[in-house]
Symmetry: C2
DNA sequence: ATGTTTTTTGTGTACGTACACAAAAGTAAC
DNA sequence: GTTACTTTTGTGTACGTACACAAAAAACAT
């Protein structure tokens, strides 16, 4: 194994001192043009890379990462994201990092504004954002750009902004995958429906929209004869919700497959289970604890997930690499895999291996 | 963020010197019973953890990892394992590690013996083993145990041995998943078949067997009315193989779903495609480049995978942690997730995010 | 030319651990 | 009590980087 090239080696080769090389590596300025070019040439030639360990060791600074995401309810989507974040902080616990969560209610734009403002005020070293509300996110990111604070998106990305890192899924492909699964789990000539939860307001409408698009596209291409309907149900009011759903099914007996474009599939599943309705397949998103339960009892056929935990993990990891090593040349936009989970592979589903 | 507890702190608290603490941490011996208990108490109280970075920095030793796996043919299963290994070596390139591959032909027991012997002779610091041949693996591991060299299994584990780490998949669950997918992708009253490639000999028979078990179990439970047949085809001789397959299909027109319990599904898929046979669904294992091609052109319905790349990655990572930090208290046996890949989610399938 | 300010460069120390080596304490034999 | 030897303990240095600070060089004003 070839001995590692050190800063001192670089310095010697370029005919300057280690301090100068250090200043160039960290863009600390106060370097003559001559030194800069000489050193940069040597850096390129040798393919110099930081020694992560020694770098971390001598780092005096403590980094503060702020996290603005929807409230992480135990067992639900954002809880997974958060546990990925925590996992990363644990993995990198030898670097001094502190974190501060600024949760917001994903159905309340005012709480989002409050959360984002507190973030901007705190002047952290980096920010992880779950960008539910578009214009609020834009304004926060503008502020961060001005202050030179790097930020990462998880769950979805917003156009026209410049995150250091962003994680998302091709939502159309997710929609197509849901469609495929529903198609597979339903009898030949059934019709299909998308049931949307009503309270979402602005929340995640981005994702849902693209998902619907992919979903309907699939059926248009694959079996244009079968209808794809749409209906709504109410999340806040369970009784109304039940009435909505049962009415819809009674009125559309040809519908044998129901897609829910978020994690609320279990609500429909529970209603059908409770009222003893059978022969209707449900496919939805995210491996929340409720959905796990429904896959186990057979009331949900399959679930499509987008590795929320891994997203959280890599958001932290990426931001740290950015902060510590200026590694912004990496691929910025990461498209997450689309995982399919059903009863058979559920017991072994893990996004990655923990300690 | 609380300041980290250092070895010096521990030493002071226990009323000994840093050297003594170090000896205890690394089981270097020459420590009095009194010191040992005192230090161990303080270690437990403070929950001391190594600082990975400084530890890595001051490590003088160069570690040699030997890897005994079947030949990694580009685009096939073991190539993925290897790329995970390489990925880990890159990720941890700031620790001095050298690697040495000792490939063997997974259909030739003699080449396996040769490979394993060369491993034992080299006296590496750790070994990664793809345990295809059972008794050969046993004898290698016995040797390694005697020498005190830790080893990790990837792809499958062998009973009665004591690896520092092992990665595998519940093969029965994989078989059930294949069954489920085949069931879903076939018309209502079709029969099913398992086609086995003939040359395998001893190779991976372990895995295949458990997979078959899970597969037949599923159909027994779910639809005992539909038959599950078995047939063989020859890998080395394509023409014979084609005759085998076509004959089987002609003789059993009720079979609309074919499972292949290894990665050779593409062979069947190509035959059916070439001869213009349609309406038969194929499900097999592993996302090899041939299988990717067949999923894309629609001749394979779905594939089940067990994250070979992640297995390779974590084998290296785990062995390093074992070597560097004596972290053998971790969970040793890791059951990998069972991934389902079909045309819709194929483009985004990644086991984890590379740099 | 001289002093003053600014820019550029070089040097030294800290980070926390691993390990070699020296020192001290303990043991045994005479 | 001395010597020889073993066991136990303590000390010092290296690892490669980050950063503070001192030193030198350059630029500018008088």
């Amino acid at each position: 194994m070839a001995r590692q090239v050190k800063i001192k080696d670089i310095a010697q080769m370029a005919g300057v001192s280690a301090g100068t090389v250090d200043r160039i590596l960290h863009n600390r300025g106060n370097v003559s043009e001559a030194s800069r070019t000489a050193v940069e040439r040597v850096l390129a030639e040798t393919g110099y890379r930081y020694n992560i360990h020694t770098s971390a060791v001598s780092l005096r600074k403590e980094y503060r990462i702020a996290i603005a995401i929807p409230t992480a309810v135990k067992g639900e989507y954002w809880d997974s994201v958060q546990s990925g974040i925590e996992h990363a902080l644990d993995e990198y616990s030898d670097i001094r990092i502190s974190r501060e969560y600024a949760y917001y209610n994903q159905f309340d734009i005012y709480s989002c504004r409050a959360s984002f403002e507190s973030i901007a005020e705190g002047s952290p070293n980096a920010v992880i954002i779950g960008p539910t509300f578009v214009s609020e996110t834009r304004s926060l990111c503008g502020e961060l750009d001005r202050k030179g604070i790097p930020y990462a998106f998880v769950d979805s990305a917003i156009e026209g902004l410049n995150p250091a890192l962003s994680f998302s899924c091709d939502q159309k492909a997710c929609g197509r995958t849901v469609a495929r699964l529903l198609h597979l789990t339903c009898p030949e000539n059934s019709d299909f429906a998308i049931l949307s939860s009503m309270r979402t307001g602005n929340g995640r409408s981005n994702n849902s929209l693209a998902r619907k698009e992919g979903f309907t596209e699939y059926f248009m291409e694959t079996c244009p004869g079968n209808a794809v309907m749409e209906a709504k149900f109410s999340v806040p009011d369970p009784e109304e919700s039940e009435r909505n759903v049962l009415n819809f099914i009674r009125e559309n007996p040809s519908v044998k497959g129901i897609a829910v474009m978020n994690s609320r599939g279990y609500i429909i599943a529970d209603i059908l289970k409770r009222t003893g309705m059978e022969g209707i397949s449900i496919v939805c998103f995210d491996l929340t604890s409720n959905n796990v339960r429904c896959i186990r009892n057979g009331s949900i056929s399959a679930v499509v997930c987008q590795r929320p935990e891994l997203q959280g993990f890599h958001a932290v990891r990426g931001l740290l690499r950015y902060l510590l090593y200026n590694q912004e040349d990496e691929r910025k936009t990461h498209s997450m895999p689309v995982d399919i989970v059903m009863a058979e592979n559920l017991p072994y589903y893990k996004e990655f291996l923990p300690e």
